[in-house]
C-alpha cells in the first residue's frame, strides 16, 4: 500500500512529536488529517482539554486565595501582577537594547531618530500632565473617603483614651492611699502590692483596647483604593518612559559615540596642526605625546559600547552558560570514572564510600568550600590571565566571566557528578552476559570490547544519568547564585528579595516560573538525546 504525501507528512509529524515527547498533540495532528474524528476528539478532550481546565482551575484558586493573605512584603501577587512584572522586565530589557543601539547610531539616521524621539517626548509630556491631574483627583477622593471612614474611629479612640486616663489616675490614687494606710499600720503590705498590680493591669487593659482601635484604623489606611492605584501605575509607567526617552535623547546627541568620536577627531586634528606649527624641540615632544594620547583615546572611543545594566535576559544567558559549563565538567569526570567503576569491582569498592558520603552534601556547603579553595587560585581576579583571555573572546567577553561564575560552575559540577557517575557505573556493570560472550567468542581486544560493545550497551543508562544530572545542576545553580555574587537568575531572585520594591514579590514569582520553564526545556532536550541513543525503544517517565 503506497503512502500518499499527506500520509507521509502526517507520519513524519507524528514521529517528531514522539521523539520530542509531546505526544499529547498526537490526536490533534491525526484529527487535522481526518483520521477517525470521533476517537481523536475524545482523546483531545480527555488528555488536553481537561488538563487545561485543571490548570485554569489552579490559576483561579491562586487568583482568589492570594489577596486574602497579607504578608509584611505586601499582598501575595495575583497572576496579573506577575504578568505585569514580566512585561516590565521585558520592557526594561528592550529599552537597554535600544539605548545600546542609539549609542552607536551615526549620521542621518541619528538625526532622524533624534527628531522622532523629541516629538515623542512632547506628546508623552502632555499625556503625563493629564494623568497627573487624574491622579490628583483620585488622591483627593481617596483622602476624603479615608477621612470619612476614619473619623468615627478616631472620635472613639479619643473618648477611650480619655476614659483610660481617668481610670489610671484613679488606680494611681488607690496606690498612694494604700501606701498611706500601710504607713499608718492599717493594712498589710499585700494591699500595696495589690494596688500596684491593679494599676499595672488597668494600664495594660487600656493599652490593649486602644491598640485594637488603632489596628482597625491601620487596616483601613492600608486598604488599597483601586482607581488611585491604577492611576498611580499609569503615571509611573509614563514617567519611566519619559525618563527613558530623555536618556535616549542624551545618547543621540551629547553622549552619542559618533559625535564624541567626531569631537575627538577635531581635537586631534587641532593638536596635530599645533604640532606641525611647533618651533622648539621640547614643545614638539610634549605636543607629540599629547597627539599620541589623543590617538589612543580616539581608538578606544570608536570601539566603545554602551555598558548596559543587567537585564533578566542577560542573567538567563549567564545562568544557562554556567549550568552548561558545570554540567560538562561533571560529565567529563563522571563518565570515565563510571566506566572504570563498572569494569573493575575494586574501583567500585574504593569509590563507594566516597560517593556515599559526598552525594547527600548540600550545594550551599560546596559553594562555600569552593569559594575558599578555588578562590586561592584567583587572588587578583582583575589581572589574572585566564579572565583577561576570556574577556578578549568575542562572545564570552560579553558574558563577563569572573571568579564567582567559576565557583558556581564548580558547585554545579560537584552536585551533578553523582547521578551521572552512579548510572554510568550501573550501565557498564550490567551488560547482558550474552554480549560479553559474543565479545569473548570474537576475541575482541580490551579497547575494541570497550568501544564496540560495552559503551554502546551502556549508553541508554548513561544518558538517563546525564538527564538527572542536568536537572539537579539547574536546581543547584539557582541556589548557588542566590548565595554567591555570580550574576544570574539566582542573583535576580536574591536582589528582588532584598530590594523590597512594590514589584519584588511578583518578580520572585516570575523568576520561579522562568526557572521552571527553562528547567523543563533542558529536560526535554535531554529526553530527545536519550531517545536517539536508546535502542530498546524504552519510554521515559515524565
Amino acid at each position: 500500500m503506497a503512502e500518499t504525501t499527506a500520509e507521509k507528512i502526517k507520519y513524519r509529524i507524528l514521529r517528531f512529536l514522539d521523539i520530542t515527547g509531546f505526544t499529547v498533540f498526537d490526536p490533534m495532528v491525526r484529527l487535522a488529517f481526518g483520521e477517525e474524528p470521533k476517537k481523536q476528539t475524545e482523546a483531545i478532550s480527555k488528555y488536553f482539554l481537561i488538563p487545561i481546565l485543571f490548570v485554569m482551575l489552579c490559576t483561579g484558586l491562586w487568583w482568589v486565595i492570594a489577596p486574602k493573605h497579607k504578608t509584611k512584603s505586601g499582598e501575595v501577587p495575583t497572576p496579573d501582577v506577575v504578568w505585569r512584572a514580566a512585561t516590565i522586565n521585558d520592557t526594561f530589557s528592550s529599552r537597554e537594547q535600544i539605548k545600546a543601539d542609539d549609542f552607536i547610531l551615526s549620521g542621518s539616521e541619528r538625526e532622524a531618530t533624534l527628531l522622532a524621539v523629541t516629538e515623542l517626548i512632547a506628546t508623552r509630556e502632555a499625556d503625563l500632565e493629564i494623568l497627573n491631574q487624574a491622579l490628583a483627583q483620585h488622591e483627593a477622593d481617596y483622602a476624603q473617603q479615608l477621612e470619612q471612614r476614619i473619623a468615627p474611629l478616631k472620635a472613639k479612640l479619643a473618648t477611650l483614651s480619655g476614659q483610660n486616663r481617668e481610670l489610671r489616675s484613679v488606680a494611681k490614687a488607690a496606690i498612694t492611699e494604700a501606701a498611706a494606710q500601710f504607713e499608718a499600720g492599717q493594712v498589710a503590705s499585700e494591699a500595696v502590692v495589690a494596688a500596684v498590680r491593679n494599676e499595672r493591669q488597668v494600664y495594660a487593659d487600656g493599652r490593649a483596647s486602644e491598640s485594637l482601635i488603632k489596628q482597625a484604623i491601620e487596616a483601613i489606611r492600608s486598604e488599597k483604593y483601586k482607581p488611585m492605584e491604577s492611576a498611580r501605575l499609569s503615571v509611573n509607567a509614563v514617567a519611566n518612559e519619559l525618563q527613558f526617552l530623555n536618556k535616549r535623547v542624551d545618547f543621540l546627541s551629547d553622549s552619542n559615540r559618533s559625535l564624541k568620536v567626531a569631537e575627538a577627531e577635531q581635537k586631534l586634528a587641532a593638536q596635530k596642526a599645533e604640532l606641525a606649527a611647533a618651533t622648539t624641540a621640547k614643545e614638539a615632544i610634549s605636543l607629540a605625546k599629547r597627539v599620541v594620547r589623543s590617538e589612543d583615546s580616539l581608538e578606544r572611543l570608536s570601539g566603545q559600547q554602551y555598558a548596559s545594566a543587567m537585564t533578566v535576559y542577560k542573567q538567563i544567558q549567564r545562568s544557562l552558560f554556567t549550568v552548561f559549563v558545570g554540567f560538562i565538567m561533571a560529565a567529563l569526570i563522571a563518565i570515565p570514572l563510571g566506566i572504570l567503576c563498572g569494569l573493575s569491582r575494586i574501583a567500585m569498592a574504593c569509590l563507594t564510600p566516597i560517593i556515599s558520603i559526598f552525594k547527600p552534601v548540600s550545594p550551599v556547603v560546596w559553594l562555600l568550600i569552593f569559594q575558599i579553595v578555588v578562590g586561592a587560585f584567583f587572588l587578583d581576579p582583575d589581572s589574572h590571565p585566564l579572565f583577561l583571555f576570556f574577556d578578549s573572546l568575542p562572545w564570552l567577553g560579553a558574558l563577563g566571566i569572573n571568579p564567582a561564575l567559576i565557583f558556581s560552575a564548580c558547585t554545579v559540577a560537584m552536585c551533578a557528578v553523582w547521578p551521572a557517575l552512579v548510572n554510568t557505573a550501573l550501565g557498564v556493570a550490567s551488560i547482558d552476559p550474552d554480549h560479553v560472550n559474543v565479545a569473548r567468542v570474537l576475541k575482541l581486544g580490551f579497547w575494541d570490547r570497550l568501544i564496540k560493545i560495552i559503551i554502546p550497551s551502556a549508553l541508554p543508562l548513561v544518558f538517563a544519568g546525564l538527564r538527572i544530572s542536568l536537572g539537579v545542576g539547574w536546581m543547584v545553580l539557582i541556589a548557588a547564585e542566590a548565595l554567591s555574587s555570580s550574576d544570574g537568575l539566582g542573583k535576580f531572585v536574591w536582589d528582588e528579595y532584598q530590594n523590597g520594591s512594590s514589584f519584588s514579590f511578583a518578580n520572585i514569582l516570575y523568576a520561579c516560573f522562568v526557572v521552571g520553564g527553562i528547567g523543563f526545556l533542558l529536560d526535554r532536550m535531554m529526553i530527545i538525546l536519550q531517545r536517539f541513543v536508546s535502542f530498546d525503544g524504552g519510554g521515559t517517565s515524565l
Binding site: 554480549h435 560472550n437 559474543v438 567468542v441 570474537l442 576475541k443 575494541d448 564496540k452 554502546p456 530498546d536
Partner: protein, 303 residues
C-alpha cells in the same frame, strides 16, 4: 583420533559444601564433518555442554580437545550460535555480521568485505533486511541473522545451542532446511543441541542423548542410517525413521522420572453405572404435533 573429543569431563557449580554437579563423566567423540545432535530434557545441562565445547567454561576435570589441542578459551574457530541469538541490538544485521567478519578476517577491506558479508546474508535469505536492527526483526529472522554471523566467521566447528526451540513450527522447518542445505554445500563438523527428536533424526548423522541432570552424562549414540537428502514429507512413512524415532523416544522416557510415571500401564476400574433407557420414557408430543421420527429409532444401551 576423533576431531572433537570430550574426555571424562566433570563440571559443577556452587561452593564446595553446596555443589551441584551438572555434568559428570561426559565422553563424546565427533568425527570431522559429522553432524551430531544431542537430545536432552530441559535443565539437563545442554547449554553447559555447548559452552564447554566452545571454551566459554572450563571443566573441573577432564579435557575438551579439538584436533588434538585442548580448548582453553573461546575463539572464532568454534562458532557457537547462542540460544537467544545474542545479536547486538544497536547494530543493524549487516553491521552485526560485519563485526564478526572484521574480527576474524582483518585483512578484508572495502568491496571484498561487503561481498563476504552479503554472501552469508544471502545464504540465510536475509538480504532484504540487512539494514534493520534486531529489534525490528521477527524471531526467525533473528535466528537467521545469528546463523549468518556464525557462518561468516567460517568456523571449523559449528556449535548450535537449541537454535530452533524459540520458533514456531513452520519457521522451524524452513531453517532446518537451510541448515541442512548449508551443511551439504559446505561440509563442517556440527554439534547441535535440540529437544525435538524428530528434528534430530531429520538432520543428524548421530544422535546422542543426554541423561537427566544433575550429574548428566552422554550415553551411547544412535546412528541415523537414513540416506540423504532426507525428505521431510516422506520421512514420516519411512519405517526405519519411525522405528528409530520411537526407539529414541522410548529411551528418553526411561531417563525421566516423570515420564516414567506416565509410561506405566495401569488398569482403572470404571464406575458401575447403568445408562438411562430413553426408549421407555413417555413421549407424548403437544396436541396436534407429530412425534419426531428420531424417537422411533432403536436406542438401546446395556439392559
Amino acid at each position: 583420533m576423533a576431531y572433537l573429543e570430550i574426555k571424562d569431563v566433570h563440571l559443577g557449580f556452587g561452593t564446595p559444601d553446596n555443589r551441584t554437579e551438572v555434568l559428570s563423566g561426559v565422553n563424546l567423540s565427533v568425527e570431522e564433518n559429522e553432524f551430531v545432535a544431542v537430545v536432552g530434557f530441559s535443565g539437563s545441562g545442554k547449554s553447559t555442554l555447548i559452552a564447554l565445547l566452545a571454551g566459554l567454561l572450563q571443566p573441573d576435570s577432564g579435557e575438551v580437545m579439538v584436533a588434538g589441542q585442548p580448548v582453553k578459551e573461546p575463539s572464532p574457530r568454534l562458532g557457537i550460535m547462542f540460544q537467544n541469538y545474542s545479536l547486538l541490538p544497536w547494530l543493524s544485521v549487516y553491521e552485526n555480521v560485519e563485526l564478526a567478519v572484521k574480527q576474524v578476517f582483518p585483512d578484508l577491506r572495502g568491496s571484498a568485505l561487503t561481498d563476504h558479508v552479503n554472501r552469508y546474508l544471502t545464504m540465510v535469505n536475509l538480504l532484504p533486511a540487512t539494514a534493520k536492527k534486531p529489534g525490528e526483526l521477527s524471531g526467525g529472522m533473528r535466528q537467521r541473522a545469528s546463523l549468518a554471523r556464525t557462518l561468516s566467521m567460517q568456523p571449523e566447528i559449528l556449535l548450535l545451542d537449541e537454535p530452533l526451540s524459540a520458533l514456531d513450527a513452520l519457521t522451524r522447518g524452513n531453517i532446518q532446511d537451510e541448515i541442512i542445505r548449508i551443511w551439504e554445500q559446505d561440509r563442517r563438523t556440527i554439534v547441535m543441541i535440540t529437544n525435538d527428536v524428530d528434528e534430530a533424526v531429520l538432520m543428524a548423522d548421530r544422535i546422542v542423548p543426554l541423561t537427566k541432570g544433575p550429574r548428566a552424562t552422554l550415553d551411547e549414540g544412535f546412528e541415523v542410517g537414513l540416506a540423504r537428502p532426507r525428505n521431510r514429507t516422506t520421512l514420516n512413512t519411512n519405517p526405519e525413521f519411525r522405528q528409530l524415532r520411537s526407539q529414541i523416544s522410548r529411551y528418553m522416557r526411561t531417563l525421566n522420572d516423570e515420564s516414567k510415571q506416565l509410561n506405566q500401564q495401569t488398569i482403572v476400574d470404571l464406575p458401575s453405572t447403568m445408562p438411562i433407557d430413553f426408549s421407555v420414557l413417555p413421549n407424548r408430543p403437544a396436541k396436534g404435533r407429530r412425534r419426531p421420527p428420531i424417537f422411533d429409532r432403536e436406542t438401546t444401551f446395556f439392559k
